[in-house]
């Protein structure tokens, strides 16, 4: 089986504090993979290492068989890796339409053109509108992103990530802070958008994790504790200890 993403003995530290202590992660082509773990397990750091925000102190990251350890985020994106952000990361002074337009531009590879106005780039407006319709954001087309409701801005966040049409999507707590209904909608949206793609999701909401994921990796103190199907993970004793025991001891 071919892996779309593979990390080999990944290590990272902040000022000597070891956060990732040798992680070997393997994501299969087309699977939905969840990463869970108690607070401080290093989930977000691992995420940032994979997407290129930090450069790991040690180890390699292979994406589609290519070593991307030293590549900048924009290059990883061009290879087909997209990510969303835990804290909604949008453009304050731009409309919903303009957001997706930027994503589509990137997908089309129109990046440095300053001779042709955007209205004249072939198929651009149509594609954006189609995408808006697909995720039910058409009615907010010309509204500023900063004025959207929380649920809608999260939806825009995810749609924007998908606008560049990545093969592997990394979603960082897409459902954090949502109400039950919003979460249901979000999960639906994720399903809809990631059909046929590989996906890594970091999430605290176990319902989301177990309803979405094909496989689950449990991270604990910067190491992989277990990696298996959701049902196996639920039975795993180490995982229970890590979550509950840890909590018990503290109390």
């Amino acid at each position: 089986m071919s892996f779309i993403l593979e990390t080999q003995d990944l290590r990272h530290d902040f000022k000597g504090m070891k956060v990732i202590r040798g992680v070997d992660l393997q994501i299969r082509q087309g699977e939905r993979h969840a990463i869970i773990g108690p607070n401080g397990a290093g989930k977000t750091t691992l995420f940032n290492l994979v997407t290129g925000m930090y450069r790991p102190r040690h180890g390699h990251i292979l994406f589609k068989g290519q070593d991307v350890t030293k590549l900048k985020p924009y290059k990883r994106n061009r290879l087909g890796m997209g990510r969303s952000f835990q804290i909604t990361s949008l453009f304050e002074h731009q409309t919903v339409f303009e957001h997706l337009r930027l994503g589509i531009l990137s997908r089309m590879g129109v990046r440095y053109n300053f001779f042709k106005p955007m209205t004249m780039v072939k198929g651009l407006t149509e594609e954006v509108d189609a995408m808006l319709a697909r995720v039910n954001l058409s009615e907010y087309r010309d509204q500023w992103a900063s004025l959207l409701s929380y649920g809608k801005s999260r939806a825009l966040e995810m749609t924007l990530t998908m606008a560049t049409n990545p093969d592997l999507v990394l979603l960082d707590e897409p459902c954090a802070g949502m109400s039950a209904e919003e979460t249901r909608n979000a999960v639906g949206l994720i399903r809809e958008l990631t059909t046929g793609k590989s996906m890594i999701i970091v999430e605290h909401d176990m319902d989301v994790v177990f309803s979405l994921a094909d496989r689950v990796t449990v991270l604990h103190y910067g190491k992989i504790l277990a990696c298996d199907t959701p049902s196996e993970i639920q039975k795993n004793k180490d995982v229970k200890d890590a979550y509950l025991g840890h909590g018990m001891k503290k109390q």
Binding site: P73, N77, S89, L90, R101, L102, F114, M118, T164
Partner: protein
């Protein structure tokens, strides 16, 4: 659509006014208009960085001066050169300077960017004084024998004639500002706005932020250089004080702030306001700086988005006022 037509008509009226102005204005007003236009071009080029990319440059005079000096030097030391190649050399040199500095500048943002640009600007200022053999030191270069703006056999314009200078400068400035406006509508312009709001996100969308910034920086520098060339043609003396001093960098920032941050034509409004303020202050008092200081304080305190911000606010209040009036009217009727 109606709004667009309104804007178009307004634009044509403005264009017409600019076209026939020399018939009504004296030389002084004409020259003031020229100075204004140059200042506006310079400020708009900076605004491309400030309002559209979120980069506050304290050293934009570097490019302004670079354009002027390279043009001046080529006229002084190259016999028989006409103005067009000299201007082209000037603006391209400014663009080239931007290109040279970009590897250092694109890495930084915020305060660090401002400081680094200021350092380079000041360094150029002292270097220009030091290289007095070429630049004429503080005395500067004099271009009293201004070559003609000509294409042999096609046309030839005398830049020492106020009306000709006026039309030429207005033409160049309008086209340049038009180019920059057009630029904000292109894909790179879109990327630029994205960088201003959230550079990290743009990077994760697959755009090379540093390279995009570099292109924008070079475009802005080139137009600043062009403004410098025009200013040199207008003043006929290129001196470090007039082109490279830190005040030269500050003036367009003031213009942008007063005109309205975030608006494309804010700097134009700001430049007009500053010029007007300077004239008024000079007429009534010797304490011009005091007036400027108080105005700056007032603007920041009470109109943080400048004149454009005030205008928007006024329109909102006007809307509320009309709405209330309308509501009242309805109430009375019922």
């Amino acid at each position: 659509m109606a709004g667009n037509i309104k804007k178009l008509v307004l634009g044509f009226i403005l264009l017409g006014a600019i076209g026939i102005a020399p018939r009504f204005l004296g030389i002084i007003s004409l020259n003031m208009a020229v100075e204004l236009a140059i200042g506006a071009l310079f400020a708009v080029s900076l605004n491309l960085l400030l309002s559209y990319t979120g980069l506050l440059s304290f050293g934009h005079a570097l490019f302004f001066g670079m354009g002027a000096y390279v043009m001046g030097i080529s006229i002084t030391y190259m016999d028989g050169i006409t103005l067009i190649p000299a201007i082209l050399m000037g603006s391209l040199a400014a663009g080239l300077t931007a290109l040279i500095f970009t590897p250092l500048l694109v890495r930084v943002t915020g305060t660090a960017f401002s400081m680094l640009t200021m350092a380079f600007g000041q360094l150029m200022y002292v270097l220009c004084i030091k290289m007095r053999g070429i630049t004429g030191g503080e005395d500067g270069l004099t271009l009293f024998d201004m070559p003609l703006l000509s294409v042999p056999g096609v046309f030839s314009l005398d830049m020492t004639d106020p009306a000709t200078l006026y039309y030429t400068v207005m033409g160049v400035v309008l086209i340049s500002i038009g180019c920059m406006w057009y630029f904000t509508k292109t894909p790179l312009g879109g990327v630029q706005a994205g960088i201003r709001d959230n550079a990290q996100r743009v990077e994760y969308l697959g755009f090379h932020v540093s390279a995009s910034k570099a292109v924008i920086f070079i475009i802005s520098g080139t137009f600043a250089g062009l403004a410098g060339c025009l200013a040199a043609i207008f003043q006929q003396v290129i001196s470090v004080d007039g082109f490279l001093r830190i005040n030269v960098s500050f003036m367009p920032i003031m213009a942008i702030m007063i005109g309205g941050l975030g608006h494309f034509l804010g700097p134009v409004i700001g430049t007009i306001f500053l010029m007007f303020l300077n004239q008024m202050a000079m007429r009534y008092t010797d304490k011009v700086e005091l007036v400027f200081g108080i105005v700056f304080i007032m603007v920041v305190m009470y109109a943080p988005y400048g004149i454009h911000g005030l205008w928007v606010k006024a329109r909102i209040y006007w809307g509320i006022f009309r709405h209330r009036k309308g509501a009242l009217g309805k109430e009375e009727r019922t």
